[in-house]
Every structure is written in structure tokens, then in C-alpha cells.
């Protein structure tokens, strides 16, 4: 019963990585008629000495870490707001989850044009009273703009997960704390945050898995630029394959990425096992 799915996943997701390993030792360009030939470790030495590759690696880490942390902080704040009873709560919750549902390519293009354009963008108009004058966000604050859109799209995800955590908190515990005269802040810090911990970990874990692969926003908002200031790993590899036609080089970069990911993933998987124990516990 398990075999069909297992075989399928192994073939489609693992075989390409074996082939990647193979090509990482080959000199192979699409645009050159010569067949691929073995070059030893030269693709690797090139990748390690290549500042563009290292830069894109670091930028991926930077973008992911900032986006995950900020969207989690916002997610907790939104979840706390939405956990209270007020008029039209479900409507506001619906509004807040919507950015997650917008097609990432659409979000990127709508932010790049109607929202952030220096000449007619809505943001410059909204900020005009504060002395902001026709800022070309995508040239002056490119990385920040891309990260803002990542945060905008992933905060709803964090909100939903934290909100589920808040709503699973037993009401009598909170009631008891209130009766005992504990302040709202103390209750939040000492009871709610520990209770939320597995939810927050889950959100960070899953958010990182998706955000580290962010491509649409980079490709459609800044095209990696200006210069290479927003070139993250997915975009770098996309360029290597589509414009430099360098399969060998991209493969070596891919293998290094995969090894780094495996190191991070072993920790992540351990975290997963721990986080998912609360599933078995029946929360």
C-alpha cells in the first residue's frame, strides 16, 4: 500500500538529486555542442570561490530569517487581536488571511506596480503626508520591499496557526489566573506563551521550508537587482540554468545547497518529531 507512493516520491524527488551529483562533476553547457565530460572538482572549486554564489546563499538565509521572524511576531499580534470577541470578527479574520491566498506571482506584480511605483504607487501617496516624496522603492529599498511582500503573504499563515493555539488554551486556566488577580500581561507571559510554544515552532518550521524557496517575488519585483542585491539562491540557480546554460556549475551549487539543507534539516526533523508529539497527545 505504501510502495506506490514511496516509489513515486523516490523517483521524482531523489533521482534528480543523484543526477545533480553526476552533473556536478561534469563540464556541461547547453549552448555548446560538445558532450558533457568529467572535470573532477572544478565546478566545486568554482562554486566555492564564486562570490555571487556565496552572496546568494547568504541572502537566502537573511531573507528567510527576517521574513520568518517578523511574520511570526505579526502573526502572534494578529492572533491575539483576533482571539478577542468583537463585532465582525470573522470578517476581519477573512481579510487578514487573504494575502496568503493571493497567487504569489500576482502579489509580486501588484506590489511592484500599483502599490510601489514611484510615480503613481499607492504607498507613496499614503506616505506623502509624512514627507515621503515619490520614492522608487524597488531601486532604493529593493531587498526590504521583497521581504515586505514575503512577510505580507506569510503573516496570515502564522496568524492562523497561533490563533489555533490560542483557541485551544483551556478557558478555565485563564479564568483561574484572572480570579487569582494575575494581570493580562503576566497571564500572557507565564501561561499563554508556554502553551503556544509548539504552535510557534511549527509555524517557524513550516514557514522556513516555504520561504527559503521564494522565487516569484524576486523574479517579478526586482529580477534579482539592482545589481545582485536581491539575488537569492533560487534566483541565482535560475540564472545559471537559463542564461549561463551552465548545468555543471548549477549542479555543483545545487549539491552544496542540498548538503547545507540536509544539515539544517536533520535539526528540523528532530524538531518536527518533537512538535508532532502533541498531535499524538490529541491536542
Amino acid at each position: 500500500m505504501l510502495l506506490p507512493a514511496l516509489i513515486y516520491v523516490v523517483i521524482v524527488t531523489q533521482v534528480p538529486f543523484v543526477v545533480t551529483l553526476w552533473y556536478s562533476f561534469q563540464n556541461y553547457f547547453f549552448d555548446v555542442p560538445a558532450p558533457a565530460h568529467f572535470t573532477g572538482f572544478s565546478n566545486y572549486t568554482q562554486a566555492f570561490t564564486n562570490a555571487a554564489f556565496r552572496g546568494s546563499l547568504l541572502r537566502s538565509v537573511e531573507m528567510t530569517v527576517i521574513a520568518v521572524i517578523v511574520s511570526m511576531l505579526l502573526g502572534v499580534a494578529f492572533a491575539v487581536l483576533l482571539d478577542r470577541k468583537f463585532f465582525g470578527r470573522s470578517i476581519v479574520r477573512t481579510l487578514i488571511i487573504t494575502p496568503f491566498l493571493v497567487m504569489p506571482a500576482a502579489a509580486a506584480l501588484v506590489w511592484a506596480g500599483p502599490m510601489l511605483d514611484p510615480n503613481f504607487g499607492l504607498l507613496n501617496w499614503l506616505l506623502e503626508p509624512f514627507g515621503v516624496n515619490h520614492v522608487a522603492w524597488l531601486s532604493t529599498h529593493a531587498l526590504g520591499a521583497v521581504i515586505v511582500v514575503m512577510i505580507w503573504q506569510w503573516t496570515p499563515f502564522m496568524t492562523l496557526i497561533v490563533l489555533a493555539g490560542l483557541q485551544s488554551q483551556p478557558a478555565d486556566t485563564l479564568e483561574a489566573a484572572k480570579v487569582d488577580g494575575a494581570g493580562a500581561l503576566a497571564t500572557f507571559g507565564e501561561l499563554t506563551i508556554p502553551h503556544l510554544r509548539p504552535y510557534i515552532e511549527l509555524g517557524i518550521l513550516l514557514g522556513s521550508i516555504y520561504l527559503v524557496n521564494v522565487f516569484d517575488q524576486v523574479r517579478l519585483m526586482t529580477n534579482g537587482g539592482p545589481g545582485t542585491s536581491t539575488t537569492n539562491l533560487p534566483f541565482y540557480l535560475y540564472q545559471q540554468v537559463n542564461f549561463a546554460f551552465d548545468v555543471g556549475g548549477a549542479a555543483a551549487a545545487g549539491v552544496i545547497t542540498a548538503i547545507l539543507t540536509i544539515i539544517v534539516a536533520t535539526f528540523a526533523l528532530r524538531m518536527f518529531a518533537r512538535v508532532f508529539q502533541f498531535e499524538e497527545a490529541g491536542i
Binding site: M1, L2, P4, Y8, V9, P16, F17, V19, Y23, F78, R84, K85, F86, V92, T94, L95, I96, I97, P99, L101, M103, P104, A106, L109, V110, G113, M115, D117, N119, F120, L122, W125, W152, T155, F157, L160, G165, A176, G181, E190, Y199, L202, I209, N213, F215, D216, L237, Y238, Q240, A250, G254, T257, A258, T261, I262, A265, L269, F272, A273, E279
Partner: protein, 288 residues
């Protein structure tokens, strides 16, 4: 529950404080509304701009009054034909394949767990952590050699692999909730594995399968990286239609907004209707 030090129970709160609490509650409610609307603003702006004539879309200051037109939508509907067809085939095809492969696998990992089921479960999720972007070059070469480049089959195959781990985790979490008594009763009736799945489990988990399918549809419909790298014309999908709606020169903002709206609305509608399943699906079944 942690031990909370017991103190004297307070008397009923005096009136002014209750009044303050009430106004405080209303204040927080209004604040949350403002935050929600501000957060939604880019979507709202996309919708508004989509109904503008092109000349009213790129003005300073931005215009909020204009005579709405459907012209840009008409333009979108006349040009999106092949793209939306490819997207629908890739999305529905991969989702069906995910369910066909995922249901038996989830069964083998939950109801009658195979040996090493834990390893199996974690193998599936580990494939989600290995970034597919790392293998994009060789993937291109493999697709080229198999004559799958720019084919809708390639997208179906890859989207299935992309969503299958997620779906297995999710379906498994639903199967764990099937009451043991039901399975026991079926067994006493002499039902085999197949009868057990089709007769007992599937009817119980079918709402769960629907929410699993929704999550798969969202991710497949929105996917751009693989489509952009591995297809050009014959399998180009909706996100690529969006890219094509941005011309090299000329006014395009209203047209882009209409295209973005049309491309996003299916998933937004599905997500709005299925908010509950969304949480469960996105947490891979961890949050009920």
C-alpha cells in the same frame, strides 16, 4: 496546568472599571478592524485598479473616483485561454494523482502501520526540505531527454511529488481519527483491506480528503518556479500569463490588476469557504 498561587477572590468590580473595560473592548475591536483593513489594502487596491480604464490607473494622485469598466477583464478573458487550460489540467491532474497515491500510503502509515512507519513518515517530509531549486538544471536535462520539456505531463508529475508528502501527513491525521470500533466491526464482518478502505475509512475521512485536495490545489495553481523553468508555450500556466500581461512599454497597470484578480480569485474563494480546513492542511494535520 501549572500551579497558580491562590489569593483572595476579588469582590465584584466597581462600576467605572466595568465601563472602562467595555470601552476598552470596543477600542480593541476598532483597532483590529483598522489593522485588518490596512493589511487587506493591497488586495483591495488590486480589485479597484482592475475596474479602472487604463488611463485612470497611472495617475498622480491615485484616483478613487472613475467610471468602472470591464474592458480589462474582457481583454483577460480573450487572452487567457491556453494558460488557464494548462493550469486547470496541471492542478486537477496532480491533485487526483496525489489522492490516488496518498490514500493507500496514509492507510499503511496509520490504520495498519507497516514496520518502520515512523521512518516512512519522516522520509516523506524530508523530501519537502530538500529544495527542488537545487536540482533545476539536471531536472531540465532529464525532461529534455525524456521529451517532457514544455509538456503538461511534466507539471502534473512534479506537482504530484511536491504535494504528496503534505497530503500523506494530512490524510494520515484524518485516518487516525476513524473510530476503532468501526474498523473492528468491519473486521468481524469479514471485510478485507480493500473493503475496509472503501466501505469504512473513505466515507469517514472524505471531508478530510476534500480539505487535503484544497491545499494541493492552492499550491499547484500558484506554482511558478518549475513552470517558468520547464515550460514555454505548450504548458505555460496562469502565473506565466500574469508575466505576459506586463508589456515592455505602454500603460498596463489596469490590465495587470485585472489579470492578477482573475488569477487569484479561484484560490481566494476556495480559501475563504474552507478556512477551517486551511489551518489543518497548512499544519499538515497537526492542528485539528
Amino acid at each position: 496546568m501549572t500551579a497558580v498561587p491562590t489569593r483572595l477572590v476579588r469582590d465584584r468590580e466597581p462600576r467605572p472599571q466595568r465601563f472602562r473595560e467595555l470601552t476598552g473592548q470596543i477600542g480593541w475591536g476598532i483597532f483590529t478592524w483598522v489593522v485588518g483593513i490596512a493589511f487587506f489594502l493591497p488586495v483591495l487596491w488590486m480589485l479597484i485598479t482592475a475596474f479602472k480604464p487604463e488611463s485612470a490607473a497611472e495617475t498622480w494622485p491615485p484616483r478613487f473616483t472613475f467610471s468602472p469598466t470591464l474592458a480589462e477583464f474582457r481583454l483577460v478573458f480573450s487572452g487567457w485561454g491556453p494558460y488557464v487550460t494548462h493550469s486547470l489540467i496541471a492542478t486537477i491532474g496532480s491533485t487526483v494523482l496525489v489522492l490516488v497515491l496518498g490514500v493507500p500510503a496514509a492507510y499503511a502509515l496509520s490504520v495498519h502501520p507497516v514496520k518502520h512507519w515512523r521512518d516512512g513518515l519522516f522520509f516523506f517530509i524530508s523530501t519537502k526540505m530538500l529544495p527542488i531549486v537545487a536540482a533545476i538544471g539536471p531536472l531540465y536535462v532529464i525532461a529534455l531527454k525524456l521529451h517532457l520539456l514544455d509538456s503538461i505531463w511534466l507539471l502534473i508529475i512534479l506537482y504530484t511529488a511536491m504535494n504528496l508528502p503534505l497530503a500523506i501527513w494530512m490524510i494520515r491525521s484524518f485516518m487516525l481519527e476513524v473510530p476503532k470500533e468501526l474498523l473492528e466491526a468491519a473486521r468481524l464482518d469479514g471485510a478485507g483491506r480493500i473493503r475496509e478502505i472503501t466501505g469504512v475509512i473513505l466515507p469517514v475521512v472524505s471531508p478530510g480528503l476534500v480539505s487535503t485536495a484544497l491545499i494541493c490545489v492552492i499550491f499547484a495553481w500558484n506554482e511558478l518556479f518549475l513552470a517558468l523553468n520547464l515550460t514555454t508555450v505548450n504548458a505555460a500556466t496562469m502565473p506565466m500569463y500574469l508575466i505576459s500581461s506586463v508589456p515592455q512599454e505602454g500603460l498596463y497597470i489596469a490590465h495587470l490588476s485585472a489579470a492578477a484578480t482573475v488569477a487569484s480569485v479561484p484560490v481566494i474563494a476556495v480559501g475563504w469557504i474552507a478556512q477551517r480546513s486551511l489551518v489543518r492542511g497548512l499544519s499538515m494535520g497537526a492542528i485539528k
